[in-house]
Symmetry: C2
Subunit: 250 residues, 2 copies
DNA sequence: TCAAAAGTGTTGTGTGTACACCCATGT
DNA sequence: ACATGGGTGTACACACAACACTTTTGA
């Protein structure tokens, strides 16, 4: 082992600079000989508004699909991690920040973008839309929340991506603690139940839901109650767990 | 609507070729102005041999990580789908073909490859290793099956990728019908149970396992039995379902 | 006093788990 | 006859589903 290493070092020591350059170019040959695709990130950002699940869309300013609605996203820079790129693009294009992103899937159909070969790594996240101000960047004409189940014609293959994200979201809700990301820090049990009903798109039994949530040690009660409501005030709860933790919920 | 289209066509009709070229270059500006990363696929191919889970590895011929074991994989060509690339690389590097691949995750740490920025889309698959002949391509020194839980030092971030694949594999086995991919077309219930015990790495109760499998309508019995065994022959079964179908099994 | 949502238990049904013995074959 | 894995049933515990009435507040 040691002998070999010494030998190798020696070999390099007496090489001319050109030989070393050639050596390097040989070594990187397989990397540089191919054309490279572009890589983008696309983001599925969900929230709940008016008792409906919404997704964040941007209106495209430029060709291709100029004027169409699309998922926010953009090109990955050479020196940044994929998730970093996603966070950056989201902030740049929409003004939304501080979200916990999760990777969804990578879409690589060679024809999905007419400009060139573009491979897109899709991410998704859930946020509380209260207090978030959307500000379209110079790259897009507009940003808005759209009901996630509206069959809008999106740019590129973004309909497919969104469909996939919605599927994953349902699964995540049943098996992890992500639902709490859609709620304020302090929430009522009915609000929590609504989140499940909206995303899973089915009615749930109040008593069974509460029994289940209580049995899971997910939340702790506070001594605060909803105020100024025209009915009995509801106790507020807080989530005990880390976001995204895996727990079988429903 | 119709009016707009006519207008656009007219606009182009009277443009000089140069104007059109400029137009196109403006349109594609955002795509071409960035350096592009390379994109690879990496494959986690699993099988069962000698009552142990094995993963397919190749020994690297060239820098970087020359001589180290790595997951098979390689660069995605400009005109091929990601999964196509995975299938091609697998066949080229190892001789393995006809596998049902599933996408795992995309790894994009900027430093994961010392040559340049390389983003890797990881895939995984389960195969029956009986009858598969491994033949290393000219790109690699060797190909072999390695026990999946052996803590081998792999090239790049392949240890991390493999760990992730093993986790996903366990999940897949419990919630889908992938286990059958590790078995011959006709198999005994004990063989099926072994697959679960090996991958999940825990003993299962024979009677409960059979009861569960039978209740799920996954398999149909044949009238064939194992032959030449030094004990009571076992009935052979076949899978009724499509591979990868989602069914809660354990 | 009415409207509106909050909050609270019991019972039946089905599913998972633990557990031990006889059977068919080859040597 | 013995070693080896094949094949089968029951009892208990626990989780899930269905279901209705009282409480508290503001208007």
């Amino acid at each position: 082992m040691k002998d070999k290493k010494t030998k190798k070092e020696k070999a390099y020591k007496y090489c001319s600079l050109d030989t070393i350059r050639m050596e390097i170019s040989k070594k990187t040959y397989d990397v540089t000989k191919y054309d490279r695709p572009s890589v983008t990130v696309d983001l599925n950002i969900f929230t709940i508004q008016h008792n409906e699940l919404h997704v964040l869309l941007v209106k495209r300013k430029a060709w291709p699909h100029k004027g169409k609605w699309a998922l926010p996203g953009g090109f990955v820079h050479m020196d940044e991690d994929l998730e970093q790129a996603a966070v950056r693009e989201l902030k740049e294009e929409t003004g939304v920040k501080d979200v916990y992103l999760e990777q969804l899937y990578t879409f690589g159909n060679p024809k999905r973008d007419p400009r060139t070969r573009v491979i897109s790594v899709a991410y998704y996240a859930l946020i509380r839309s209260k207090g978030v101000t959307l500000k379209p960047s110079t790259d897009v004409v507009d940003v808005k929340w759209v009901p996630a189940y509206d069959l809008l014609q999106l740019a590129f293959d973004h309909n497919e991506i969104l469909k996939y994200a919605l599927q994953r979201l349902k699964w995540k809700l049943e098996y992890t603690t992500v639902a709490f990301q859609l709620l304020p820090k302090k929430f009522t049990l009915t609000q929590l139940q609504k989140v499940y009903e909206i995303v899973l798109n089915k009615k749930l039994d109040k008593r069974n839901f509460r029994k289940k949530i209580n049995s899971l040690d997910l939340i702790k009660e506070t001594n605060e109650y909803t105020e100024d409501v025209a009915h009995r005030p509801a106790r507020l709860y807080m989530c005990k767990r880390k976001i995204g933790e895996i727990v079988e919920i429903l």
